[in-house]
Amino acid sequence: MSTSKVATMHDAVADLVRNGDTVAIEGFTHLISFAAGHEIIRQRKRDLTLARLTPDLIYDQMIAGGVARKLIFSWLGNPGVGGLGSIRRRIETGEPAPLEVEEYSHFGMVGRYTAGAANLPFFPIRSYFESDLPVANPRIREIESPYGDGKIFAVPPLKPDVTIVHAQRADAAGNTQVWGLLGCQKEAAFAAERVIVVVEELVDEAVIRADPNRTIIPGLIVDAVVVEPFGAHPSYVQGAYDRDNRFYLDWDAITRDEAATQQWLRDWVYDLDGRAAYIDRLGAARIASLKPGSAPSGVVDYGDYR
């Protein structure tokens, strides 16, 4: 009844990410698909428009790898640590090439994905009043309430060509479940033309069907399921591993220096053939150090009705 969509990361990226695409790798601090970002660098995709609320280290690496011509975002930084050098250099100096930017607030970006997912021509939000953001970005527009009670603001739909999300688990048909922070992965996935789901664990359909309220993305809109344990490192997966904060701190020195950044890409992306080699290189001790204690959810009963 459901065909398997399980693919390797190489094949999923090769088949579904095309030069010139608008690509959204979403996940707000949680479940960031570094594995997919690295594969996009490795396959030397070009002229991408990268969309994401928080460009984070993964987009700094991708932009250093030369895959992008444009960035759509709402907060640019290494959270809790500092800046993203490769992106800042492109914006501040235009070197090695200019980077076009299209900028919103967090809620504006969430609204954009929501409008894209819901086939709405705009999404209204009560933000941007007296801010210079609508001046810097004329796609943020005023809209008059049809009830005569004043103006608010609108953002336009964002419909990525490809959305990529990392999740705790999915079945082979792409039915995907997440717990912990949900970010705006659901909206970004429904808004997209194509969807790649990368998971820690492939599970039987029965596991998904036993708890349907946890499903955030239905297989209906998923094109490929990639099984890539630890694929979100150095970000984290609730219940599976912690954020590798040492990496975020280390990145601060690397990203300030173009040569060091390129060397890092060679060592950790170009010279490796995939995620397994990356994990191997990271080492078992480091992986083990990120394992949390256990905090089980408890069980609820859906009831068997026949």
């Binding site: 959270p79 809790g80 969430v110 009560r126 970010g183």
Partner: protein, 271 residues
């Protein structure tokens, strides 16, 4: 600690040495006494709010823009999306829901913001230094700050003072404060249906500023060790100083212990 309810001078415990950052965090935490729901930003706000929950505001509900309500972090969250804010929280929701129903819906009492530049009326820049199209420094941008400034019932700002950050004119207005003055700001808030009443306090490494009736900030408290000369040399306008300017009570031994042993043992924020 409001300007109208001042405590006596430093307690005995304040004889302990403390850094300017520690004083700033402690002062910010104390301002949260009596507040119920606080929207927590990354960095300094994060540690100040976590300190407040352990001291003056044990009932404080923490809202993280990542989608968490009622967080009970077991350690200082490394980022606003740290897994420790999820485990044991009251509710975890999508960002759509967090921004729509909690923030825009008017449930947040205090939004806590940082800033790269601020002007005398609390207007904030976190976007660029220099022109937008060709910035000399590209800053992080709004994140959720623009909507927090408009929708949180009041806004607290925490930031270090310097001639580059406390400026006569900000380069880009990311998040509105009291605009050109309180009268204009109140009219625009009313007409636009904002639920927020704008900034109420700015806590720096030198002192505590509250906003007067005309919407301009006024120095009400000077931290121990700081001087008015320090204040004037780190600000781009002639500051308004309270006639009854007082000295901020120094951090207590308990506050310092919580910061040093529980919240920031590595000294990342408090060096």
């Amino acid at each position: 600690m409001s300007a109208g309810a001042r405590e006596p001078g430093p307690s005995a415990a304040s004889a302990t040495a403390f850094s300017k950052s520690e004083m700033m965090i402690v002062a910010a935490a104390r301002e949260l006494a009596g507040q119920r729901v606080c929207f927590v930003g990354v960095g300094l706000p994060n540690i100040a709010v976590n300190l407040a929950q352990r001291t003056v505001a044990p009932g404080l509900e923490l809202v993280y823009e990542a989608g968490v309500f009622g967080a009970r972090p077991a350690r200082l969250p490394l980022s606003i999306g740290d897994p420790t804010i999820v485990t044991g929280a009251t509710a975890v929701v999508s960002m759509y829901e967090l921004f729509s129903f909690y923030l825009q819906g008017g449930l947040v009492d205090v939004g806590f913001l940082g800033a790269a530049q601020i002007d005398r009326r609390g207007n904030i820049n976190t976007t660029v230094i220099g022109p937008y199209d060709h910035p000399t420094t590209r800053l992080p941008g709004s994140g959720g700050a623009c909507e927090i400034a408009i929708n949180a019932r009041q806004v607290f700002v925490i930031m270090r003072q310097s001639a580059r950050s406390f400026v006569e004119k900000i380069d880009f207005r990311t998040s509105p404060g009291n605009l050109g003055g309180a009268e204009q700001a109140e009219r625009i808030r009313r007409e636009g249906g904002w639920l927020g009443r704008g900034p109420s306090v700015v806590v720096t490494d030198l002192g505590i500023w509250h906003f007067g009736d005309d919407g301009e900030m006024r120095l009400d408290w000077l931290h121990p060790g700081a001087t008015l000369k320090d204040v004037r040399s780190t600000i781009g306008w002639e500051p308004r100083i309270a006639a009854d300017l007082a000295t901020t009570p120094a951090p207590t031994a308990t506050e310092l212990r919580l910061i040093r042993e529980e919240l920031d043992p590595g000294g990342v924020y408090t060096k």
